[in-house]
């Protein structure tokens, strides 16, 4: 009976260490390793009723399902990251059977090897800058406007200081990006996140990913931490650091722009 499809998380080189025995992947299925042509595909056998094209599409509309699946996928990638440098595949990469996975490896092996060489020992750090203009500039005049003229004056001042703040935020983000990209091997500027999606306070003015050798991560993080002082003169600015991630944003072959993130 071959009802199980193959959900592939990542491709990597053979590694010695064992994965955590408790590790479960998507659909609660432990991941296993499929070795072919000197490469390893990390996959789970998943039920066709959930992962065939139609049911998968339907599931992806279900935020709870998407969230659980994304976290399970990430759990496997995280576990792999502790023992090797995995080349993560996009969420929802499913094959009919092992033979489909092998054929895919054969078709892509040269590219996989080049990319794995390039990314070996590297991790990705995410850095976002937010400006919470609402906090920095009160929406309403602090004192009641005494006249129409006074009201307009206050309004103009708010607008002006708002513009100034956006400019300061831009300048800050640019400076930060220059400093960080100087310490990174590569970077991607992703589209800023919509605050309606992230639920984060303020507006996301920069959403960047940096490729950093694992051994230099500490310095990189310190550099981000060190920006505290620089942004003191612009209230409402916030810097968020996420990572270390597997190098998701850098899996494109060199020269590609690395996915949909507009530059």
């Amino acid at each position: 009976m071959t009802t199980g499809l193959r959900y592939v998380y990542a491709v990597c080189r053979p590694f010695d260490a064992a994965l955590q025995s408790q590790l479960t992947g998507v659909a609660g299925v432990p991941p296993k390793l499929l070795s072919h042509h000197g490469l390893i595909a990390v996959l789970s056998e998943v039920p066709e009723c959930d992962f065939a094209e139609e049911p998968l599409r339907a599931h992806l509309e279900d935020l709870d399902w998407l969230s659980a699946t994304a976290r399970a996928h990430q759990g496997v990638i995280d576990a792999l990251t502790t023992v090797t440098t995995p080349l993560p595949l996009r969420l929802g990469t499913v094959f009919r059977d092992d033979s489909g996975v092998r054929t895919m490896i054969e078709a892509r092996e040269d590219g996989f090897r080049r990319t794995l060489d390039r990314l070996e020992g590297r991790v990705e750090w995410g850095v976002k800058v937010y400006l919470d203009a609402g906090t920095a500039v009160p929406e309403k005049p602090s004192a009641k406007a005494v006249s129409g003229r006074e009201y307009l004056r206050q309004r103009r001042m708010r607008t002006r200081s708002r513009d100034e703040m956006w400019q300061n935020a831009e300048t800050f983000a640019q400076g930060l990006h220059e400093a960080l990209s100087g310490r990174a091997e590569d970077f991607r500027l992703h589209a800023p996140q919509d605050s309606a999606l992230s639920g984060a306070a303020g507006r996301n003015v920069m959403n960047a990913a940096y490729l950093v050798p694992r051994g230099e991560s500490e310095e990189f993080v310190e550099l981000v931490d060190g920006t505290k002082d620089a942004k003191d003169d612009t209230p409402g600015l916030r810097v968020e650091l996420t990572g270390p991630w597997a190098p998701y944003s850098f899996t494109g072959e060199s020269g590609e722009s690395g996915g949909e993130g507009p530059a």
Binding site: L5, V8, E53, L56, R57, L60, E61, L63, L66, S67, A70, R71, H73, Q74, L87, P88, L89, R90, G92, T93, V94, F95, R96, G100, T103, M104, T115, E124, G126, A133, G134, R162, H190, D194, S195, A196, L197, S198, G199, A200, G202, N207, V224, T227, K228, D232, P235, L237, R238, V239, E240, L241, T242, Y248, S249, T251, G258, G259, E260, G261
Partner: protein
């Protein structure tokens, strides 16, 4: 206002990477489900979910 935060990974950061990053494999043997239009579907799901629960108070553009 000057804190560098390191919280539990937010879903949106996760999806930024899992749906927009990673190696895209297309070919006859895949089910062709790892493609760009999924990002749109998923973001629609996110938007509708967010709107249901939390009407964002920061709609106003700068």
């Amino acid at each position: 206002m000057t804190v560098v935060e390191r919280r539990e990974v937010a879903l949106v950061d996760l999806l930024d990477r899992l749906l927009a990053g990673g190696v895209v494999i297309t070919g006859d043997l895949t089910l062709r489900i790892a493609d760009v239009d999924l990002v749109r579907i998923d973001l629609n799901a996110l938007i509708s979910s967010v709107n249901e629960n939390v009407p964002p108070p920061w709609e106003e553009a700068p």
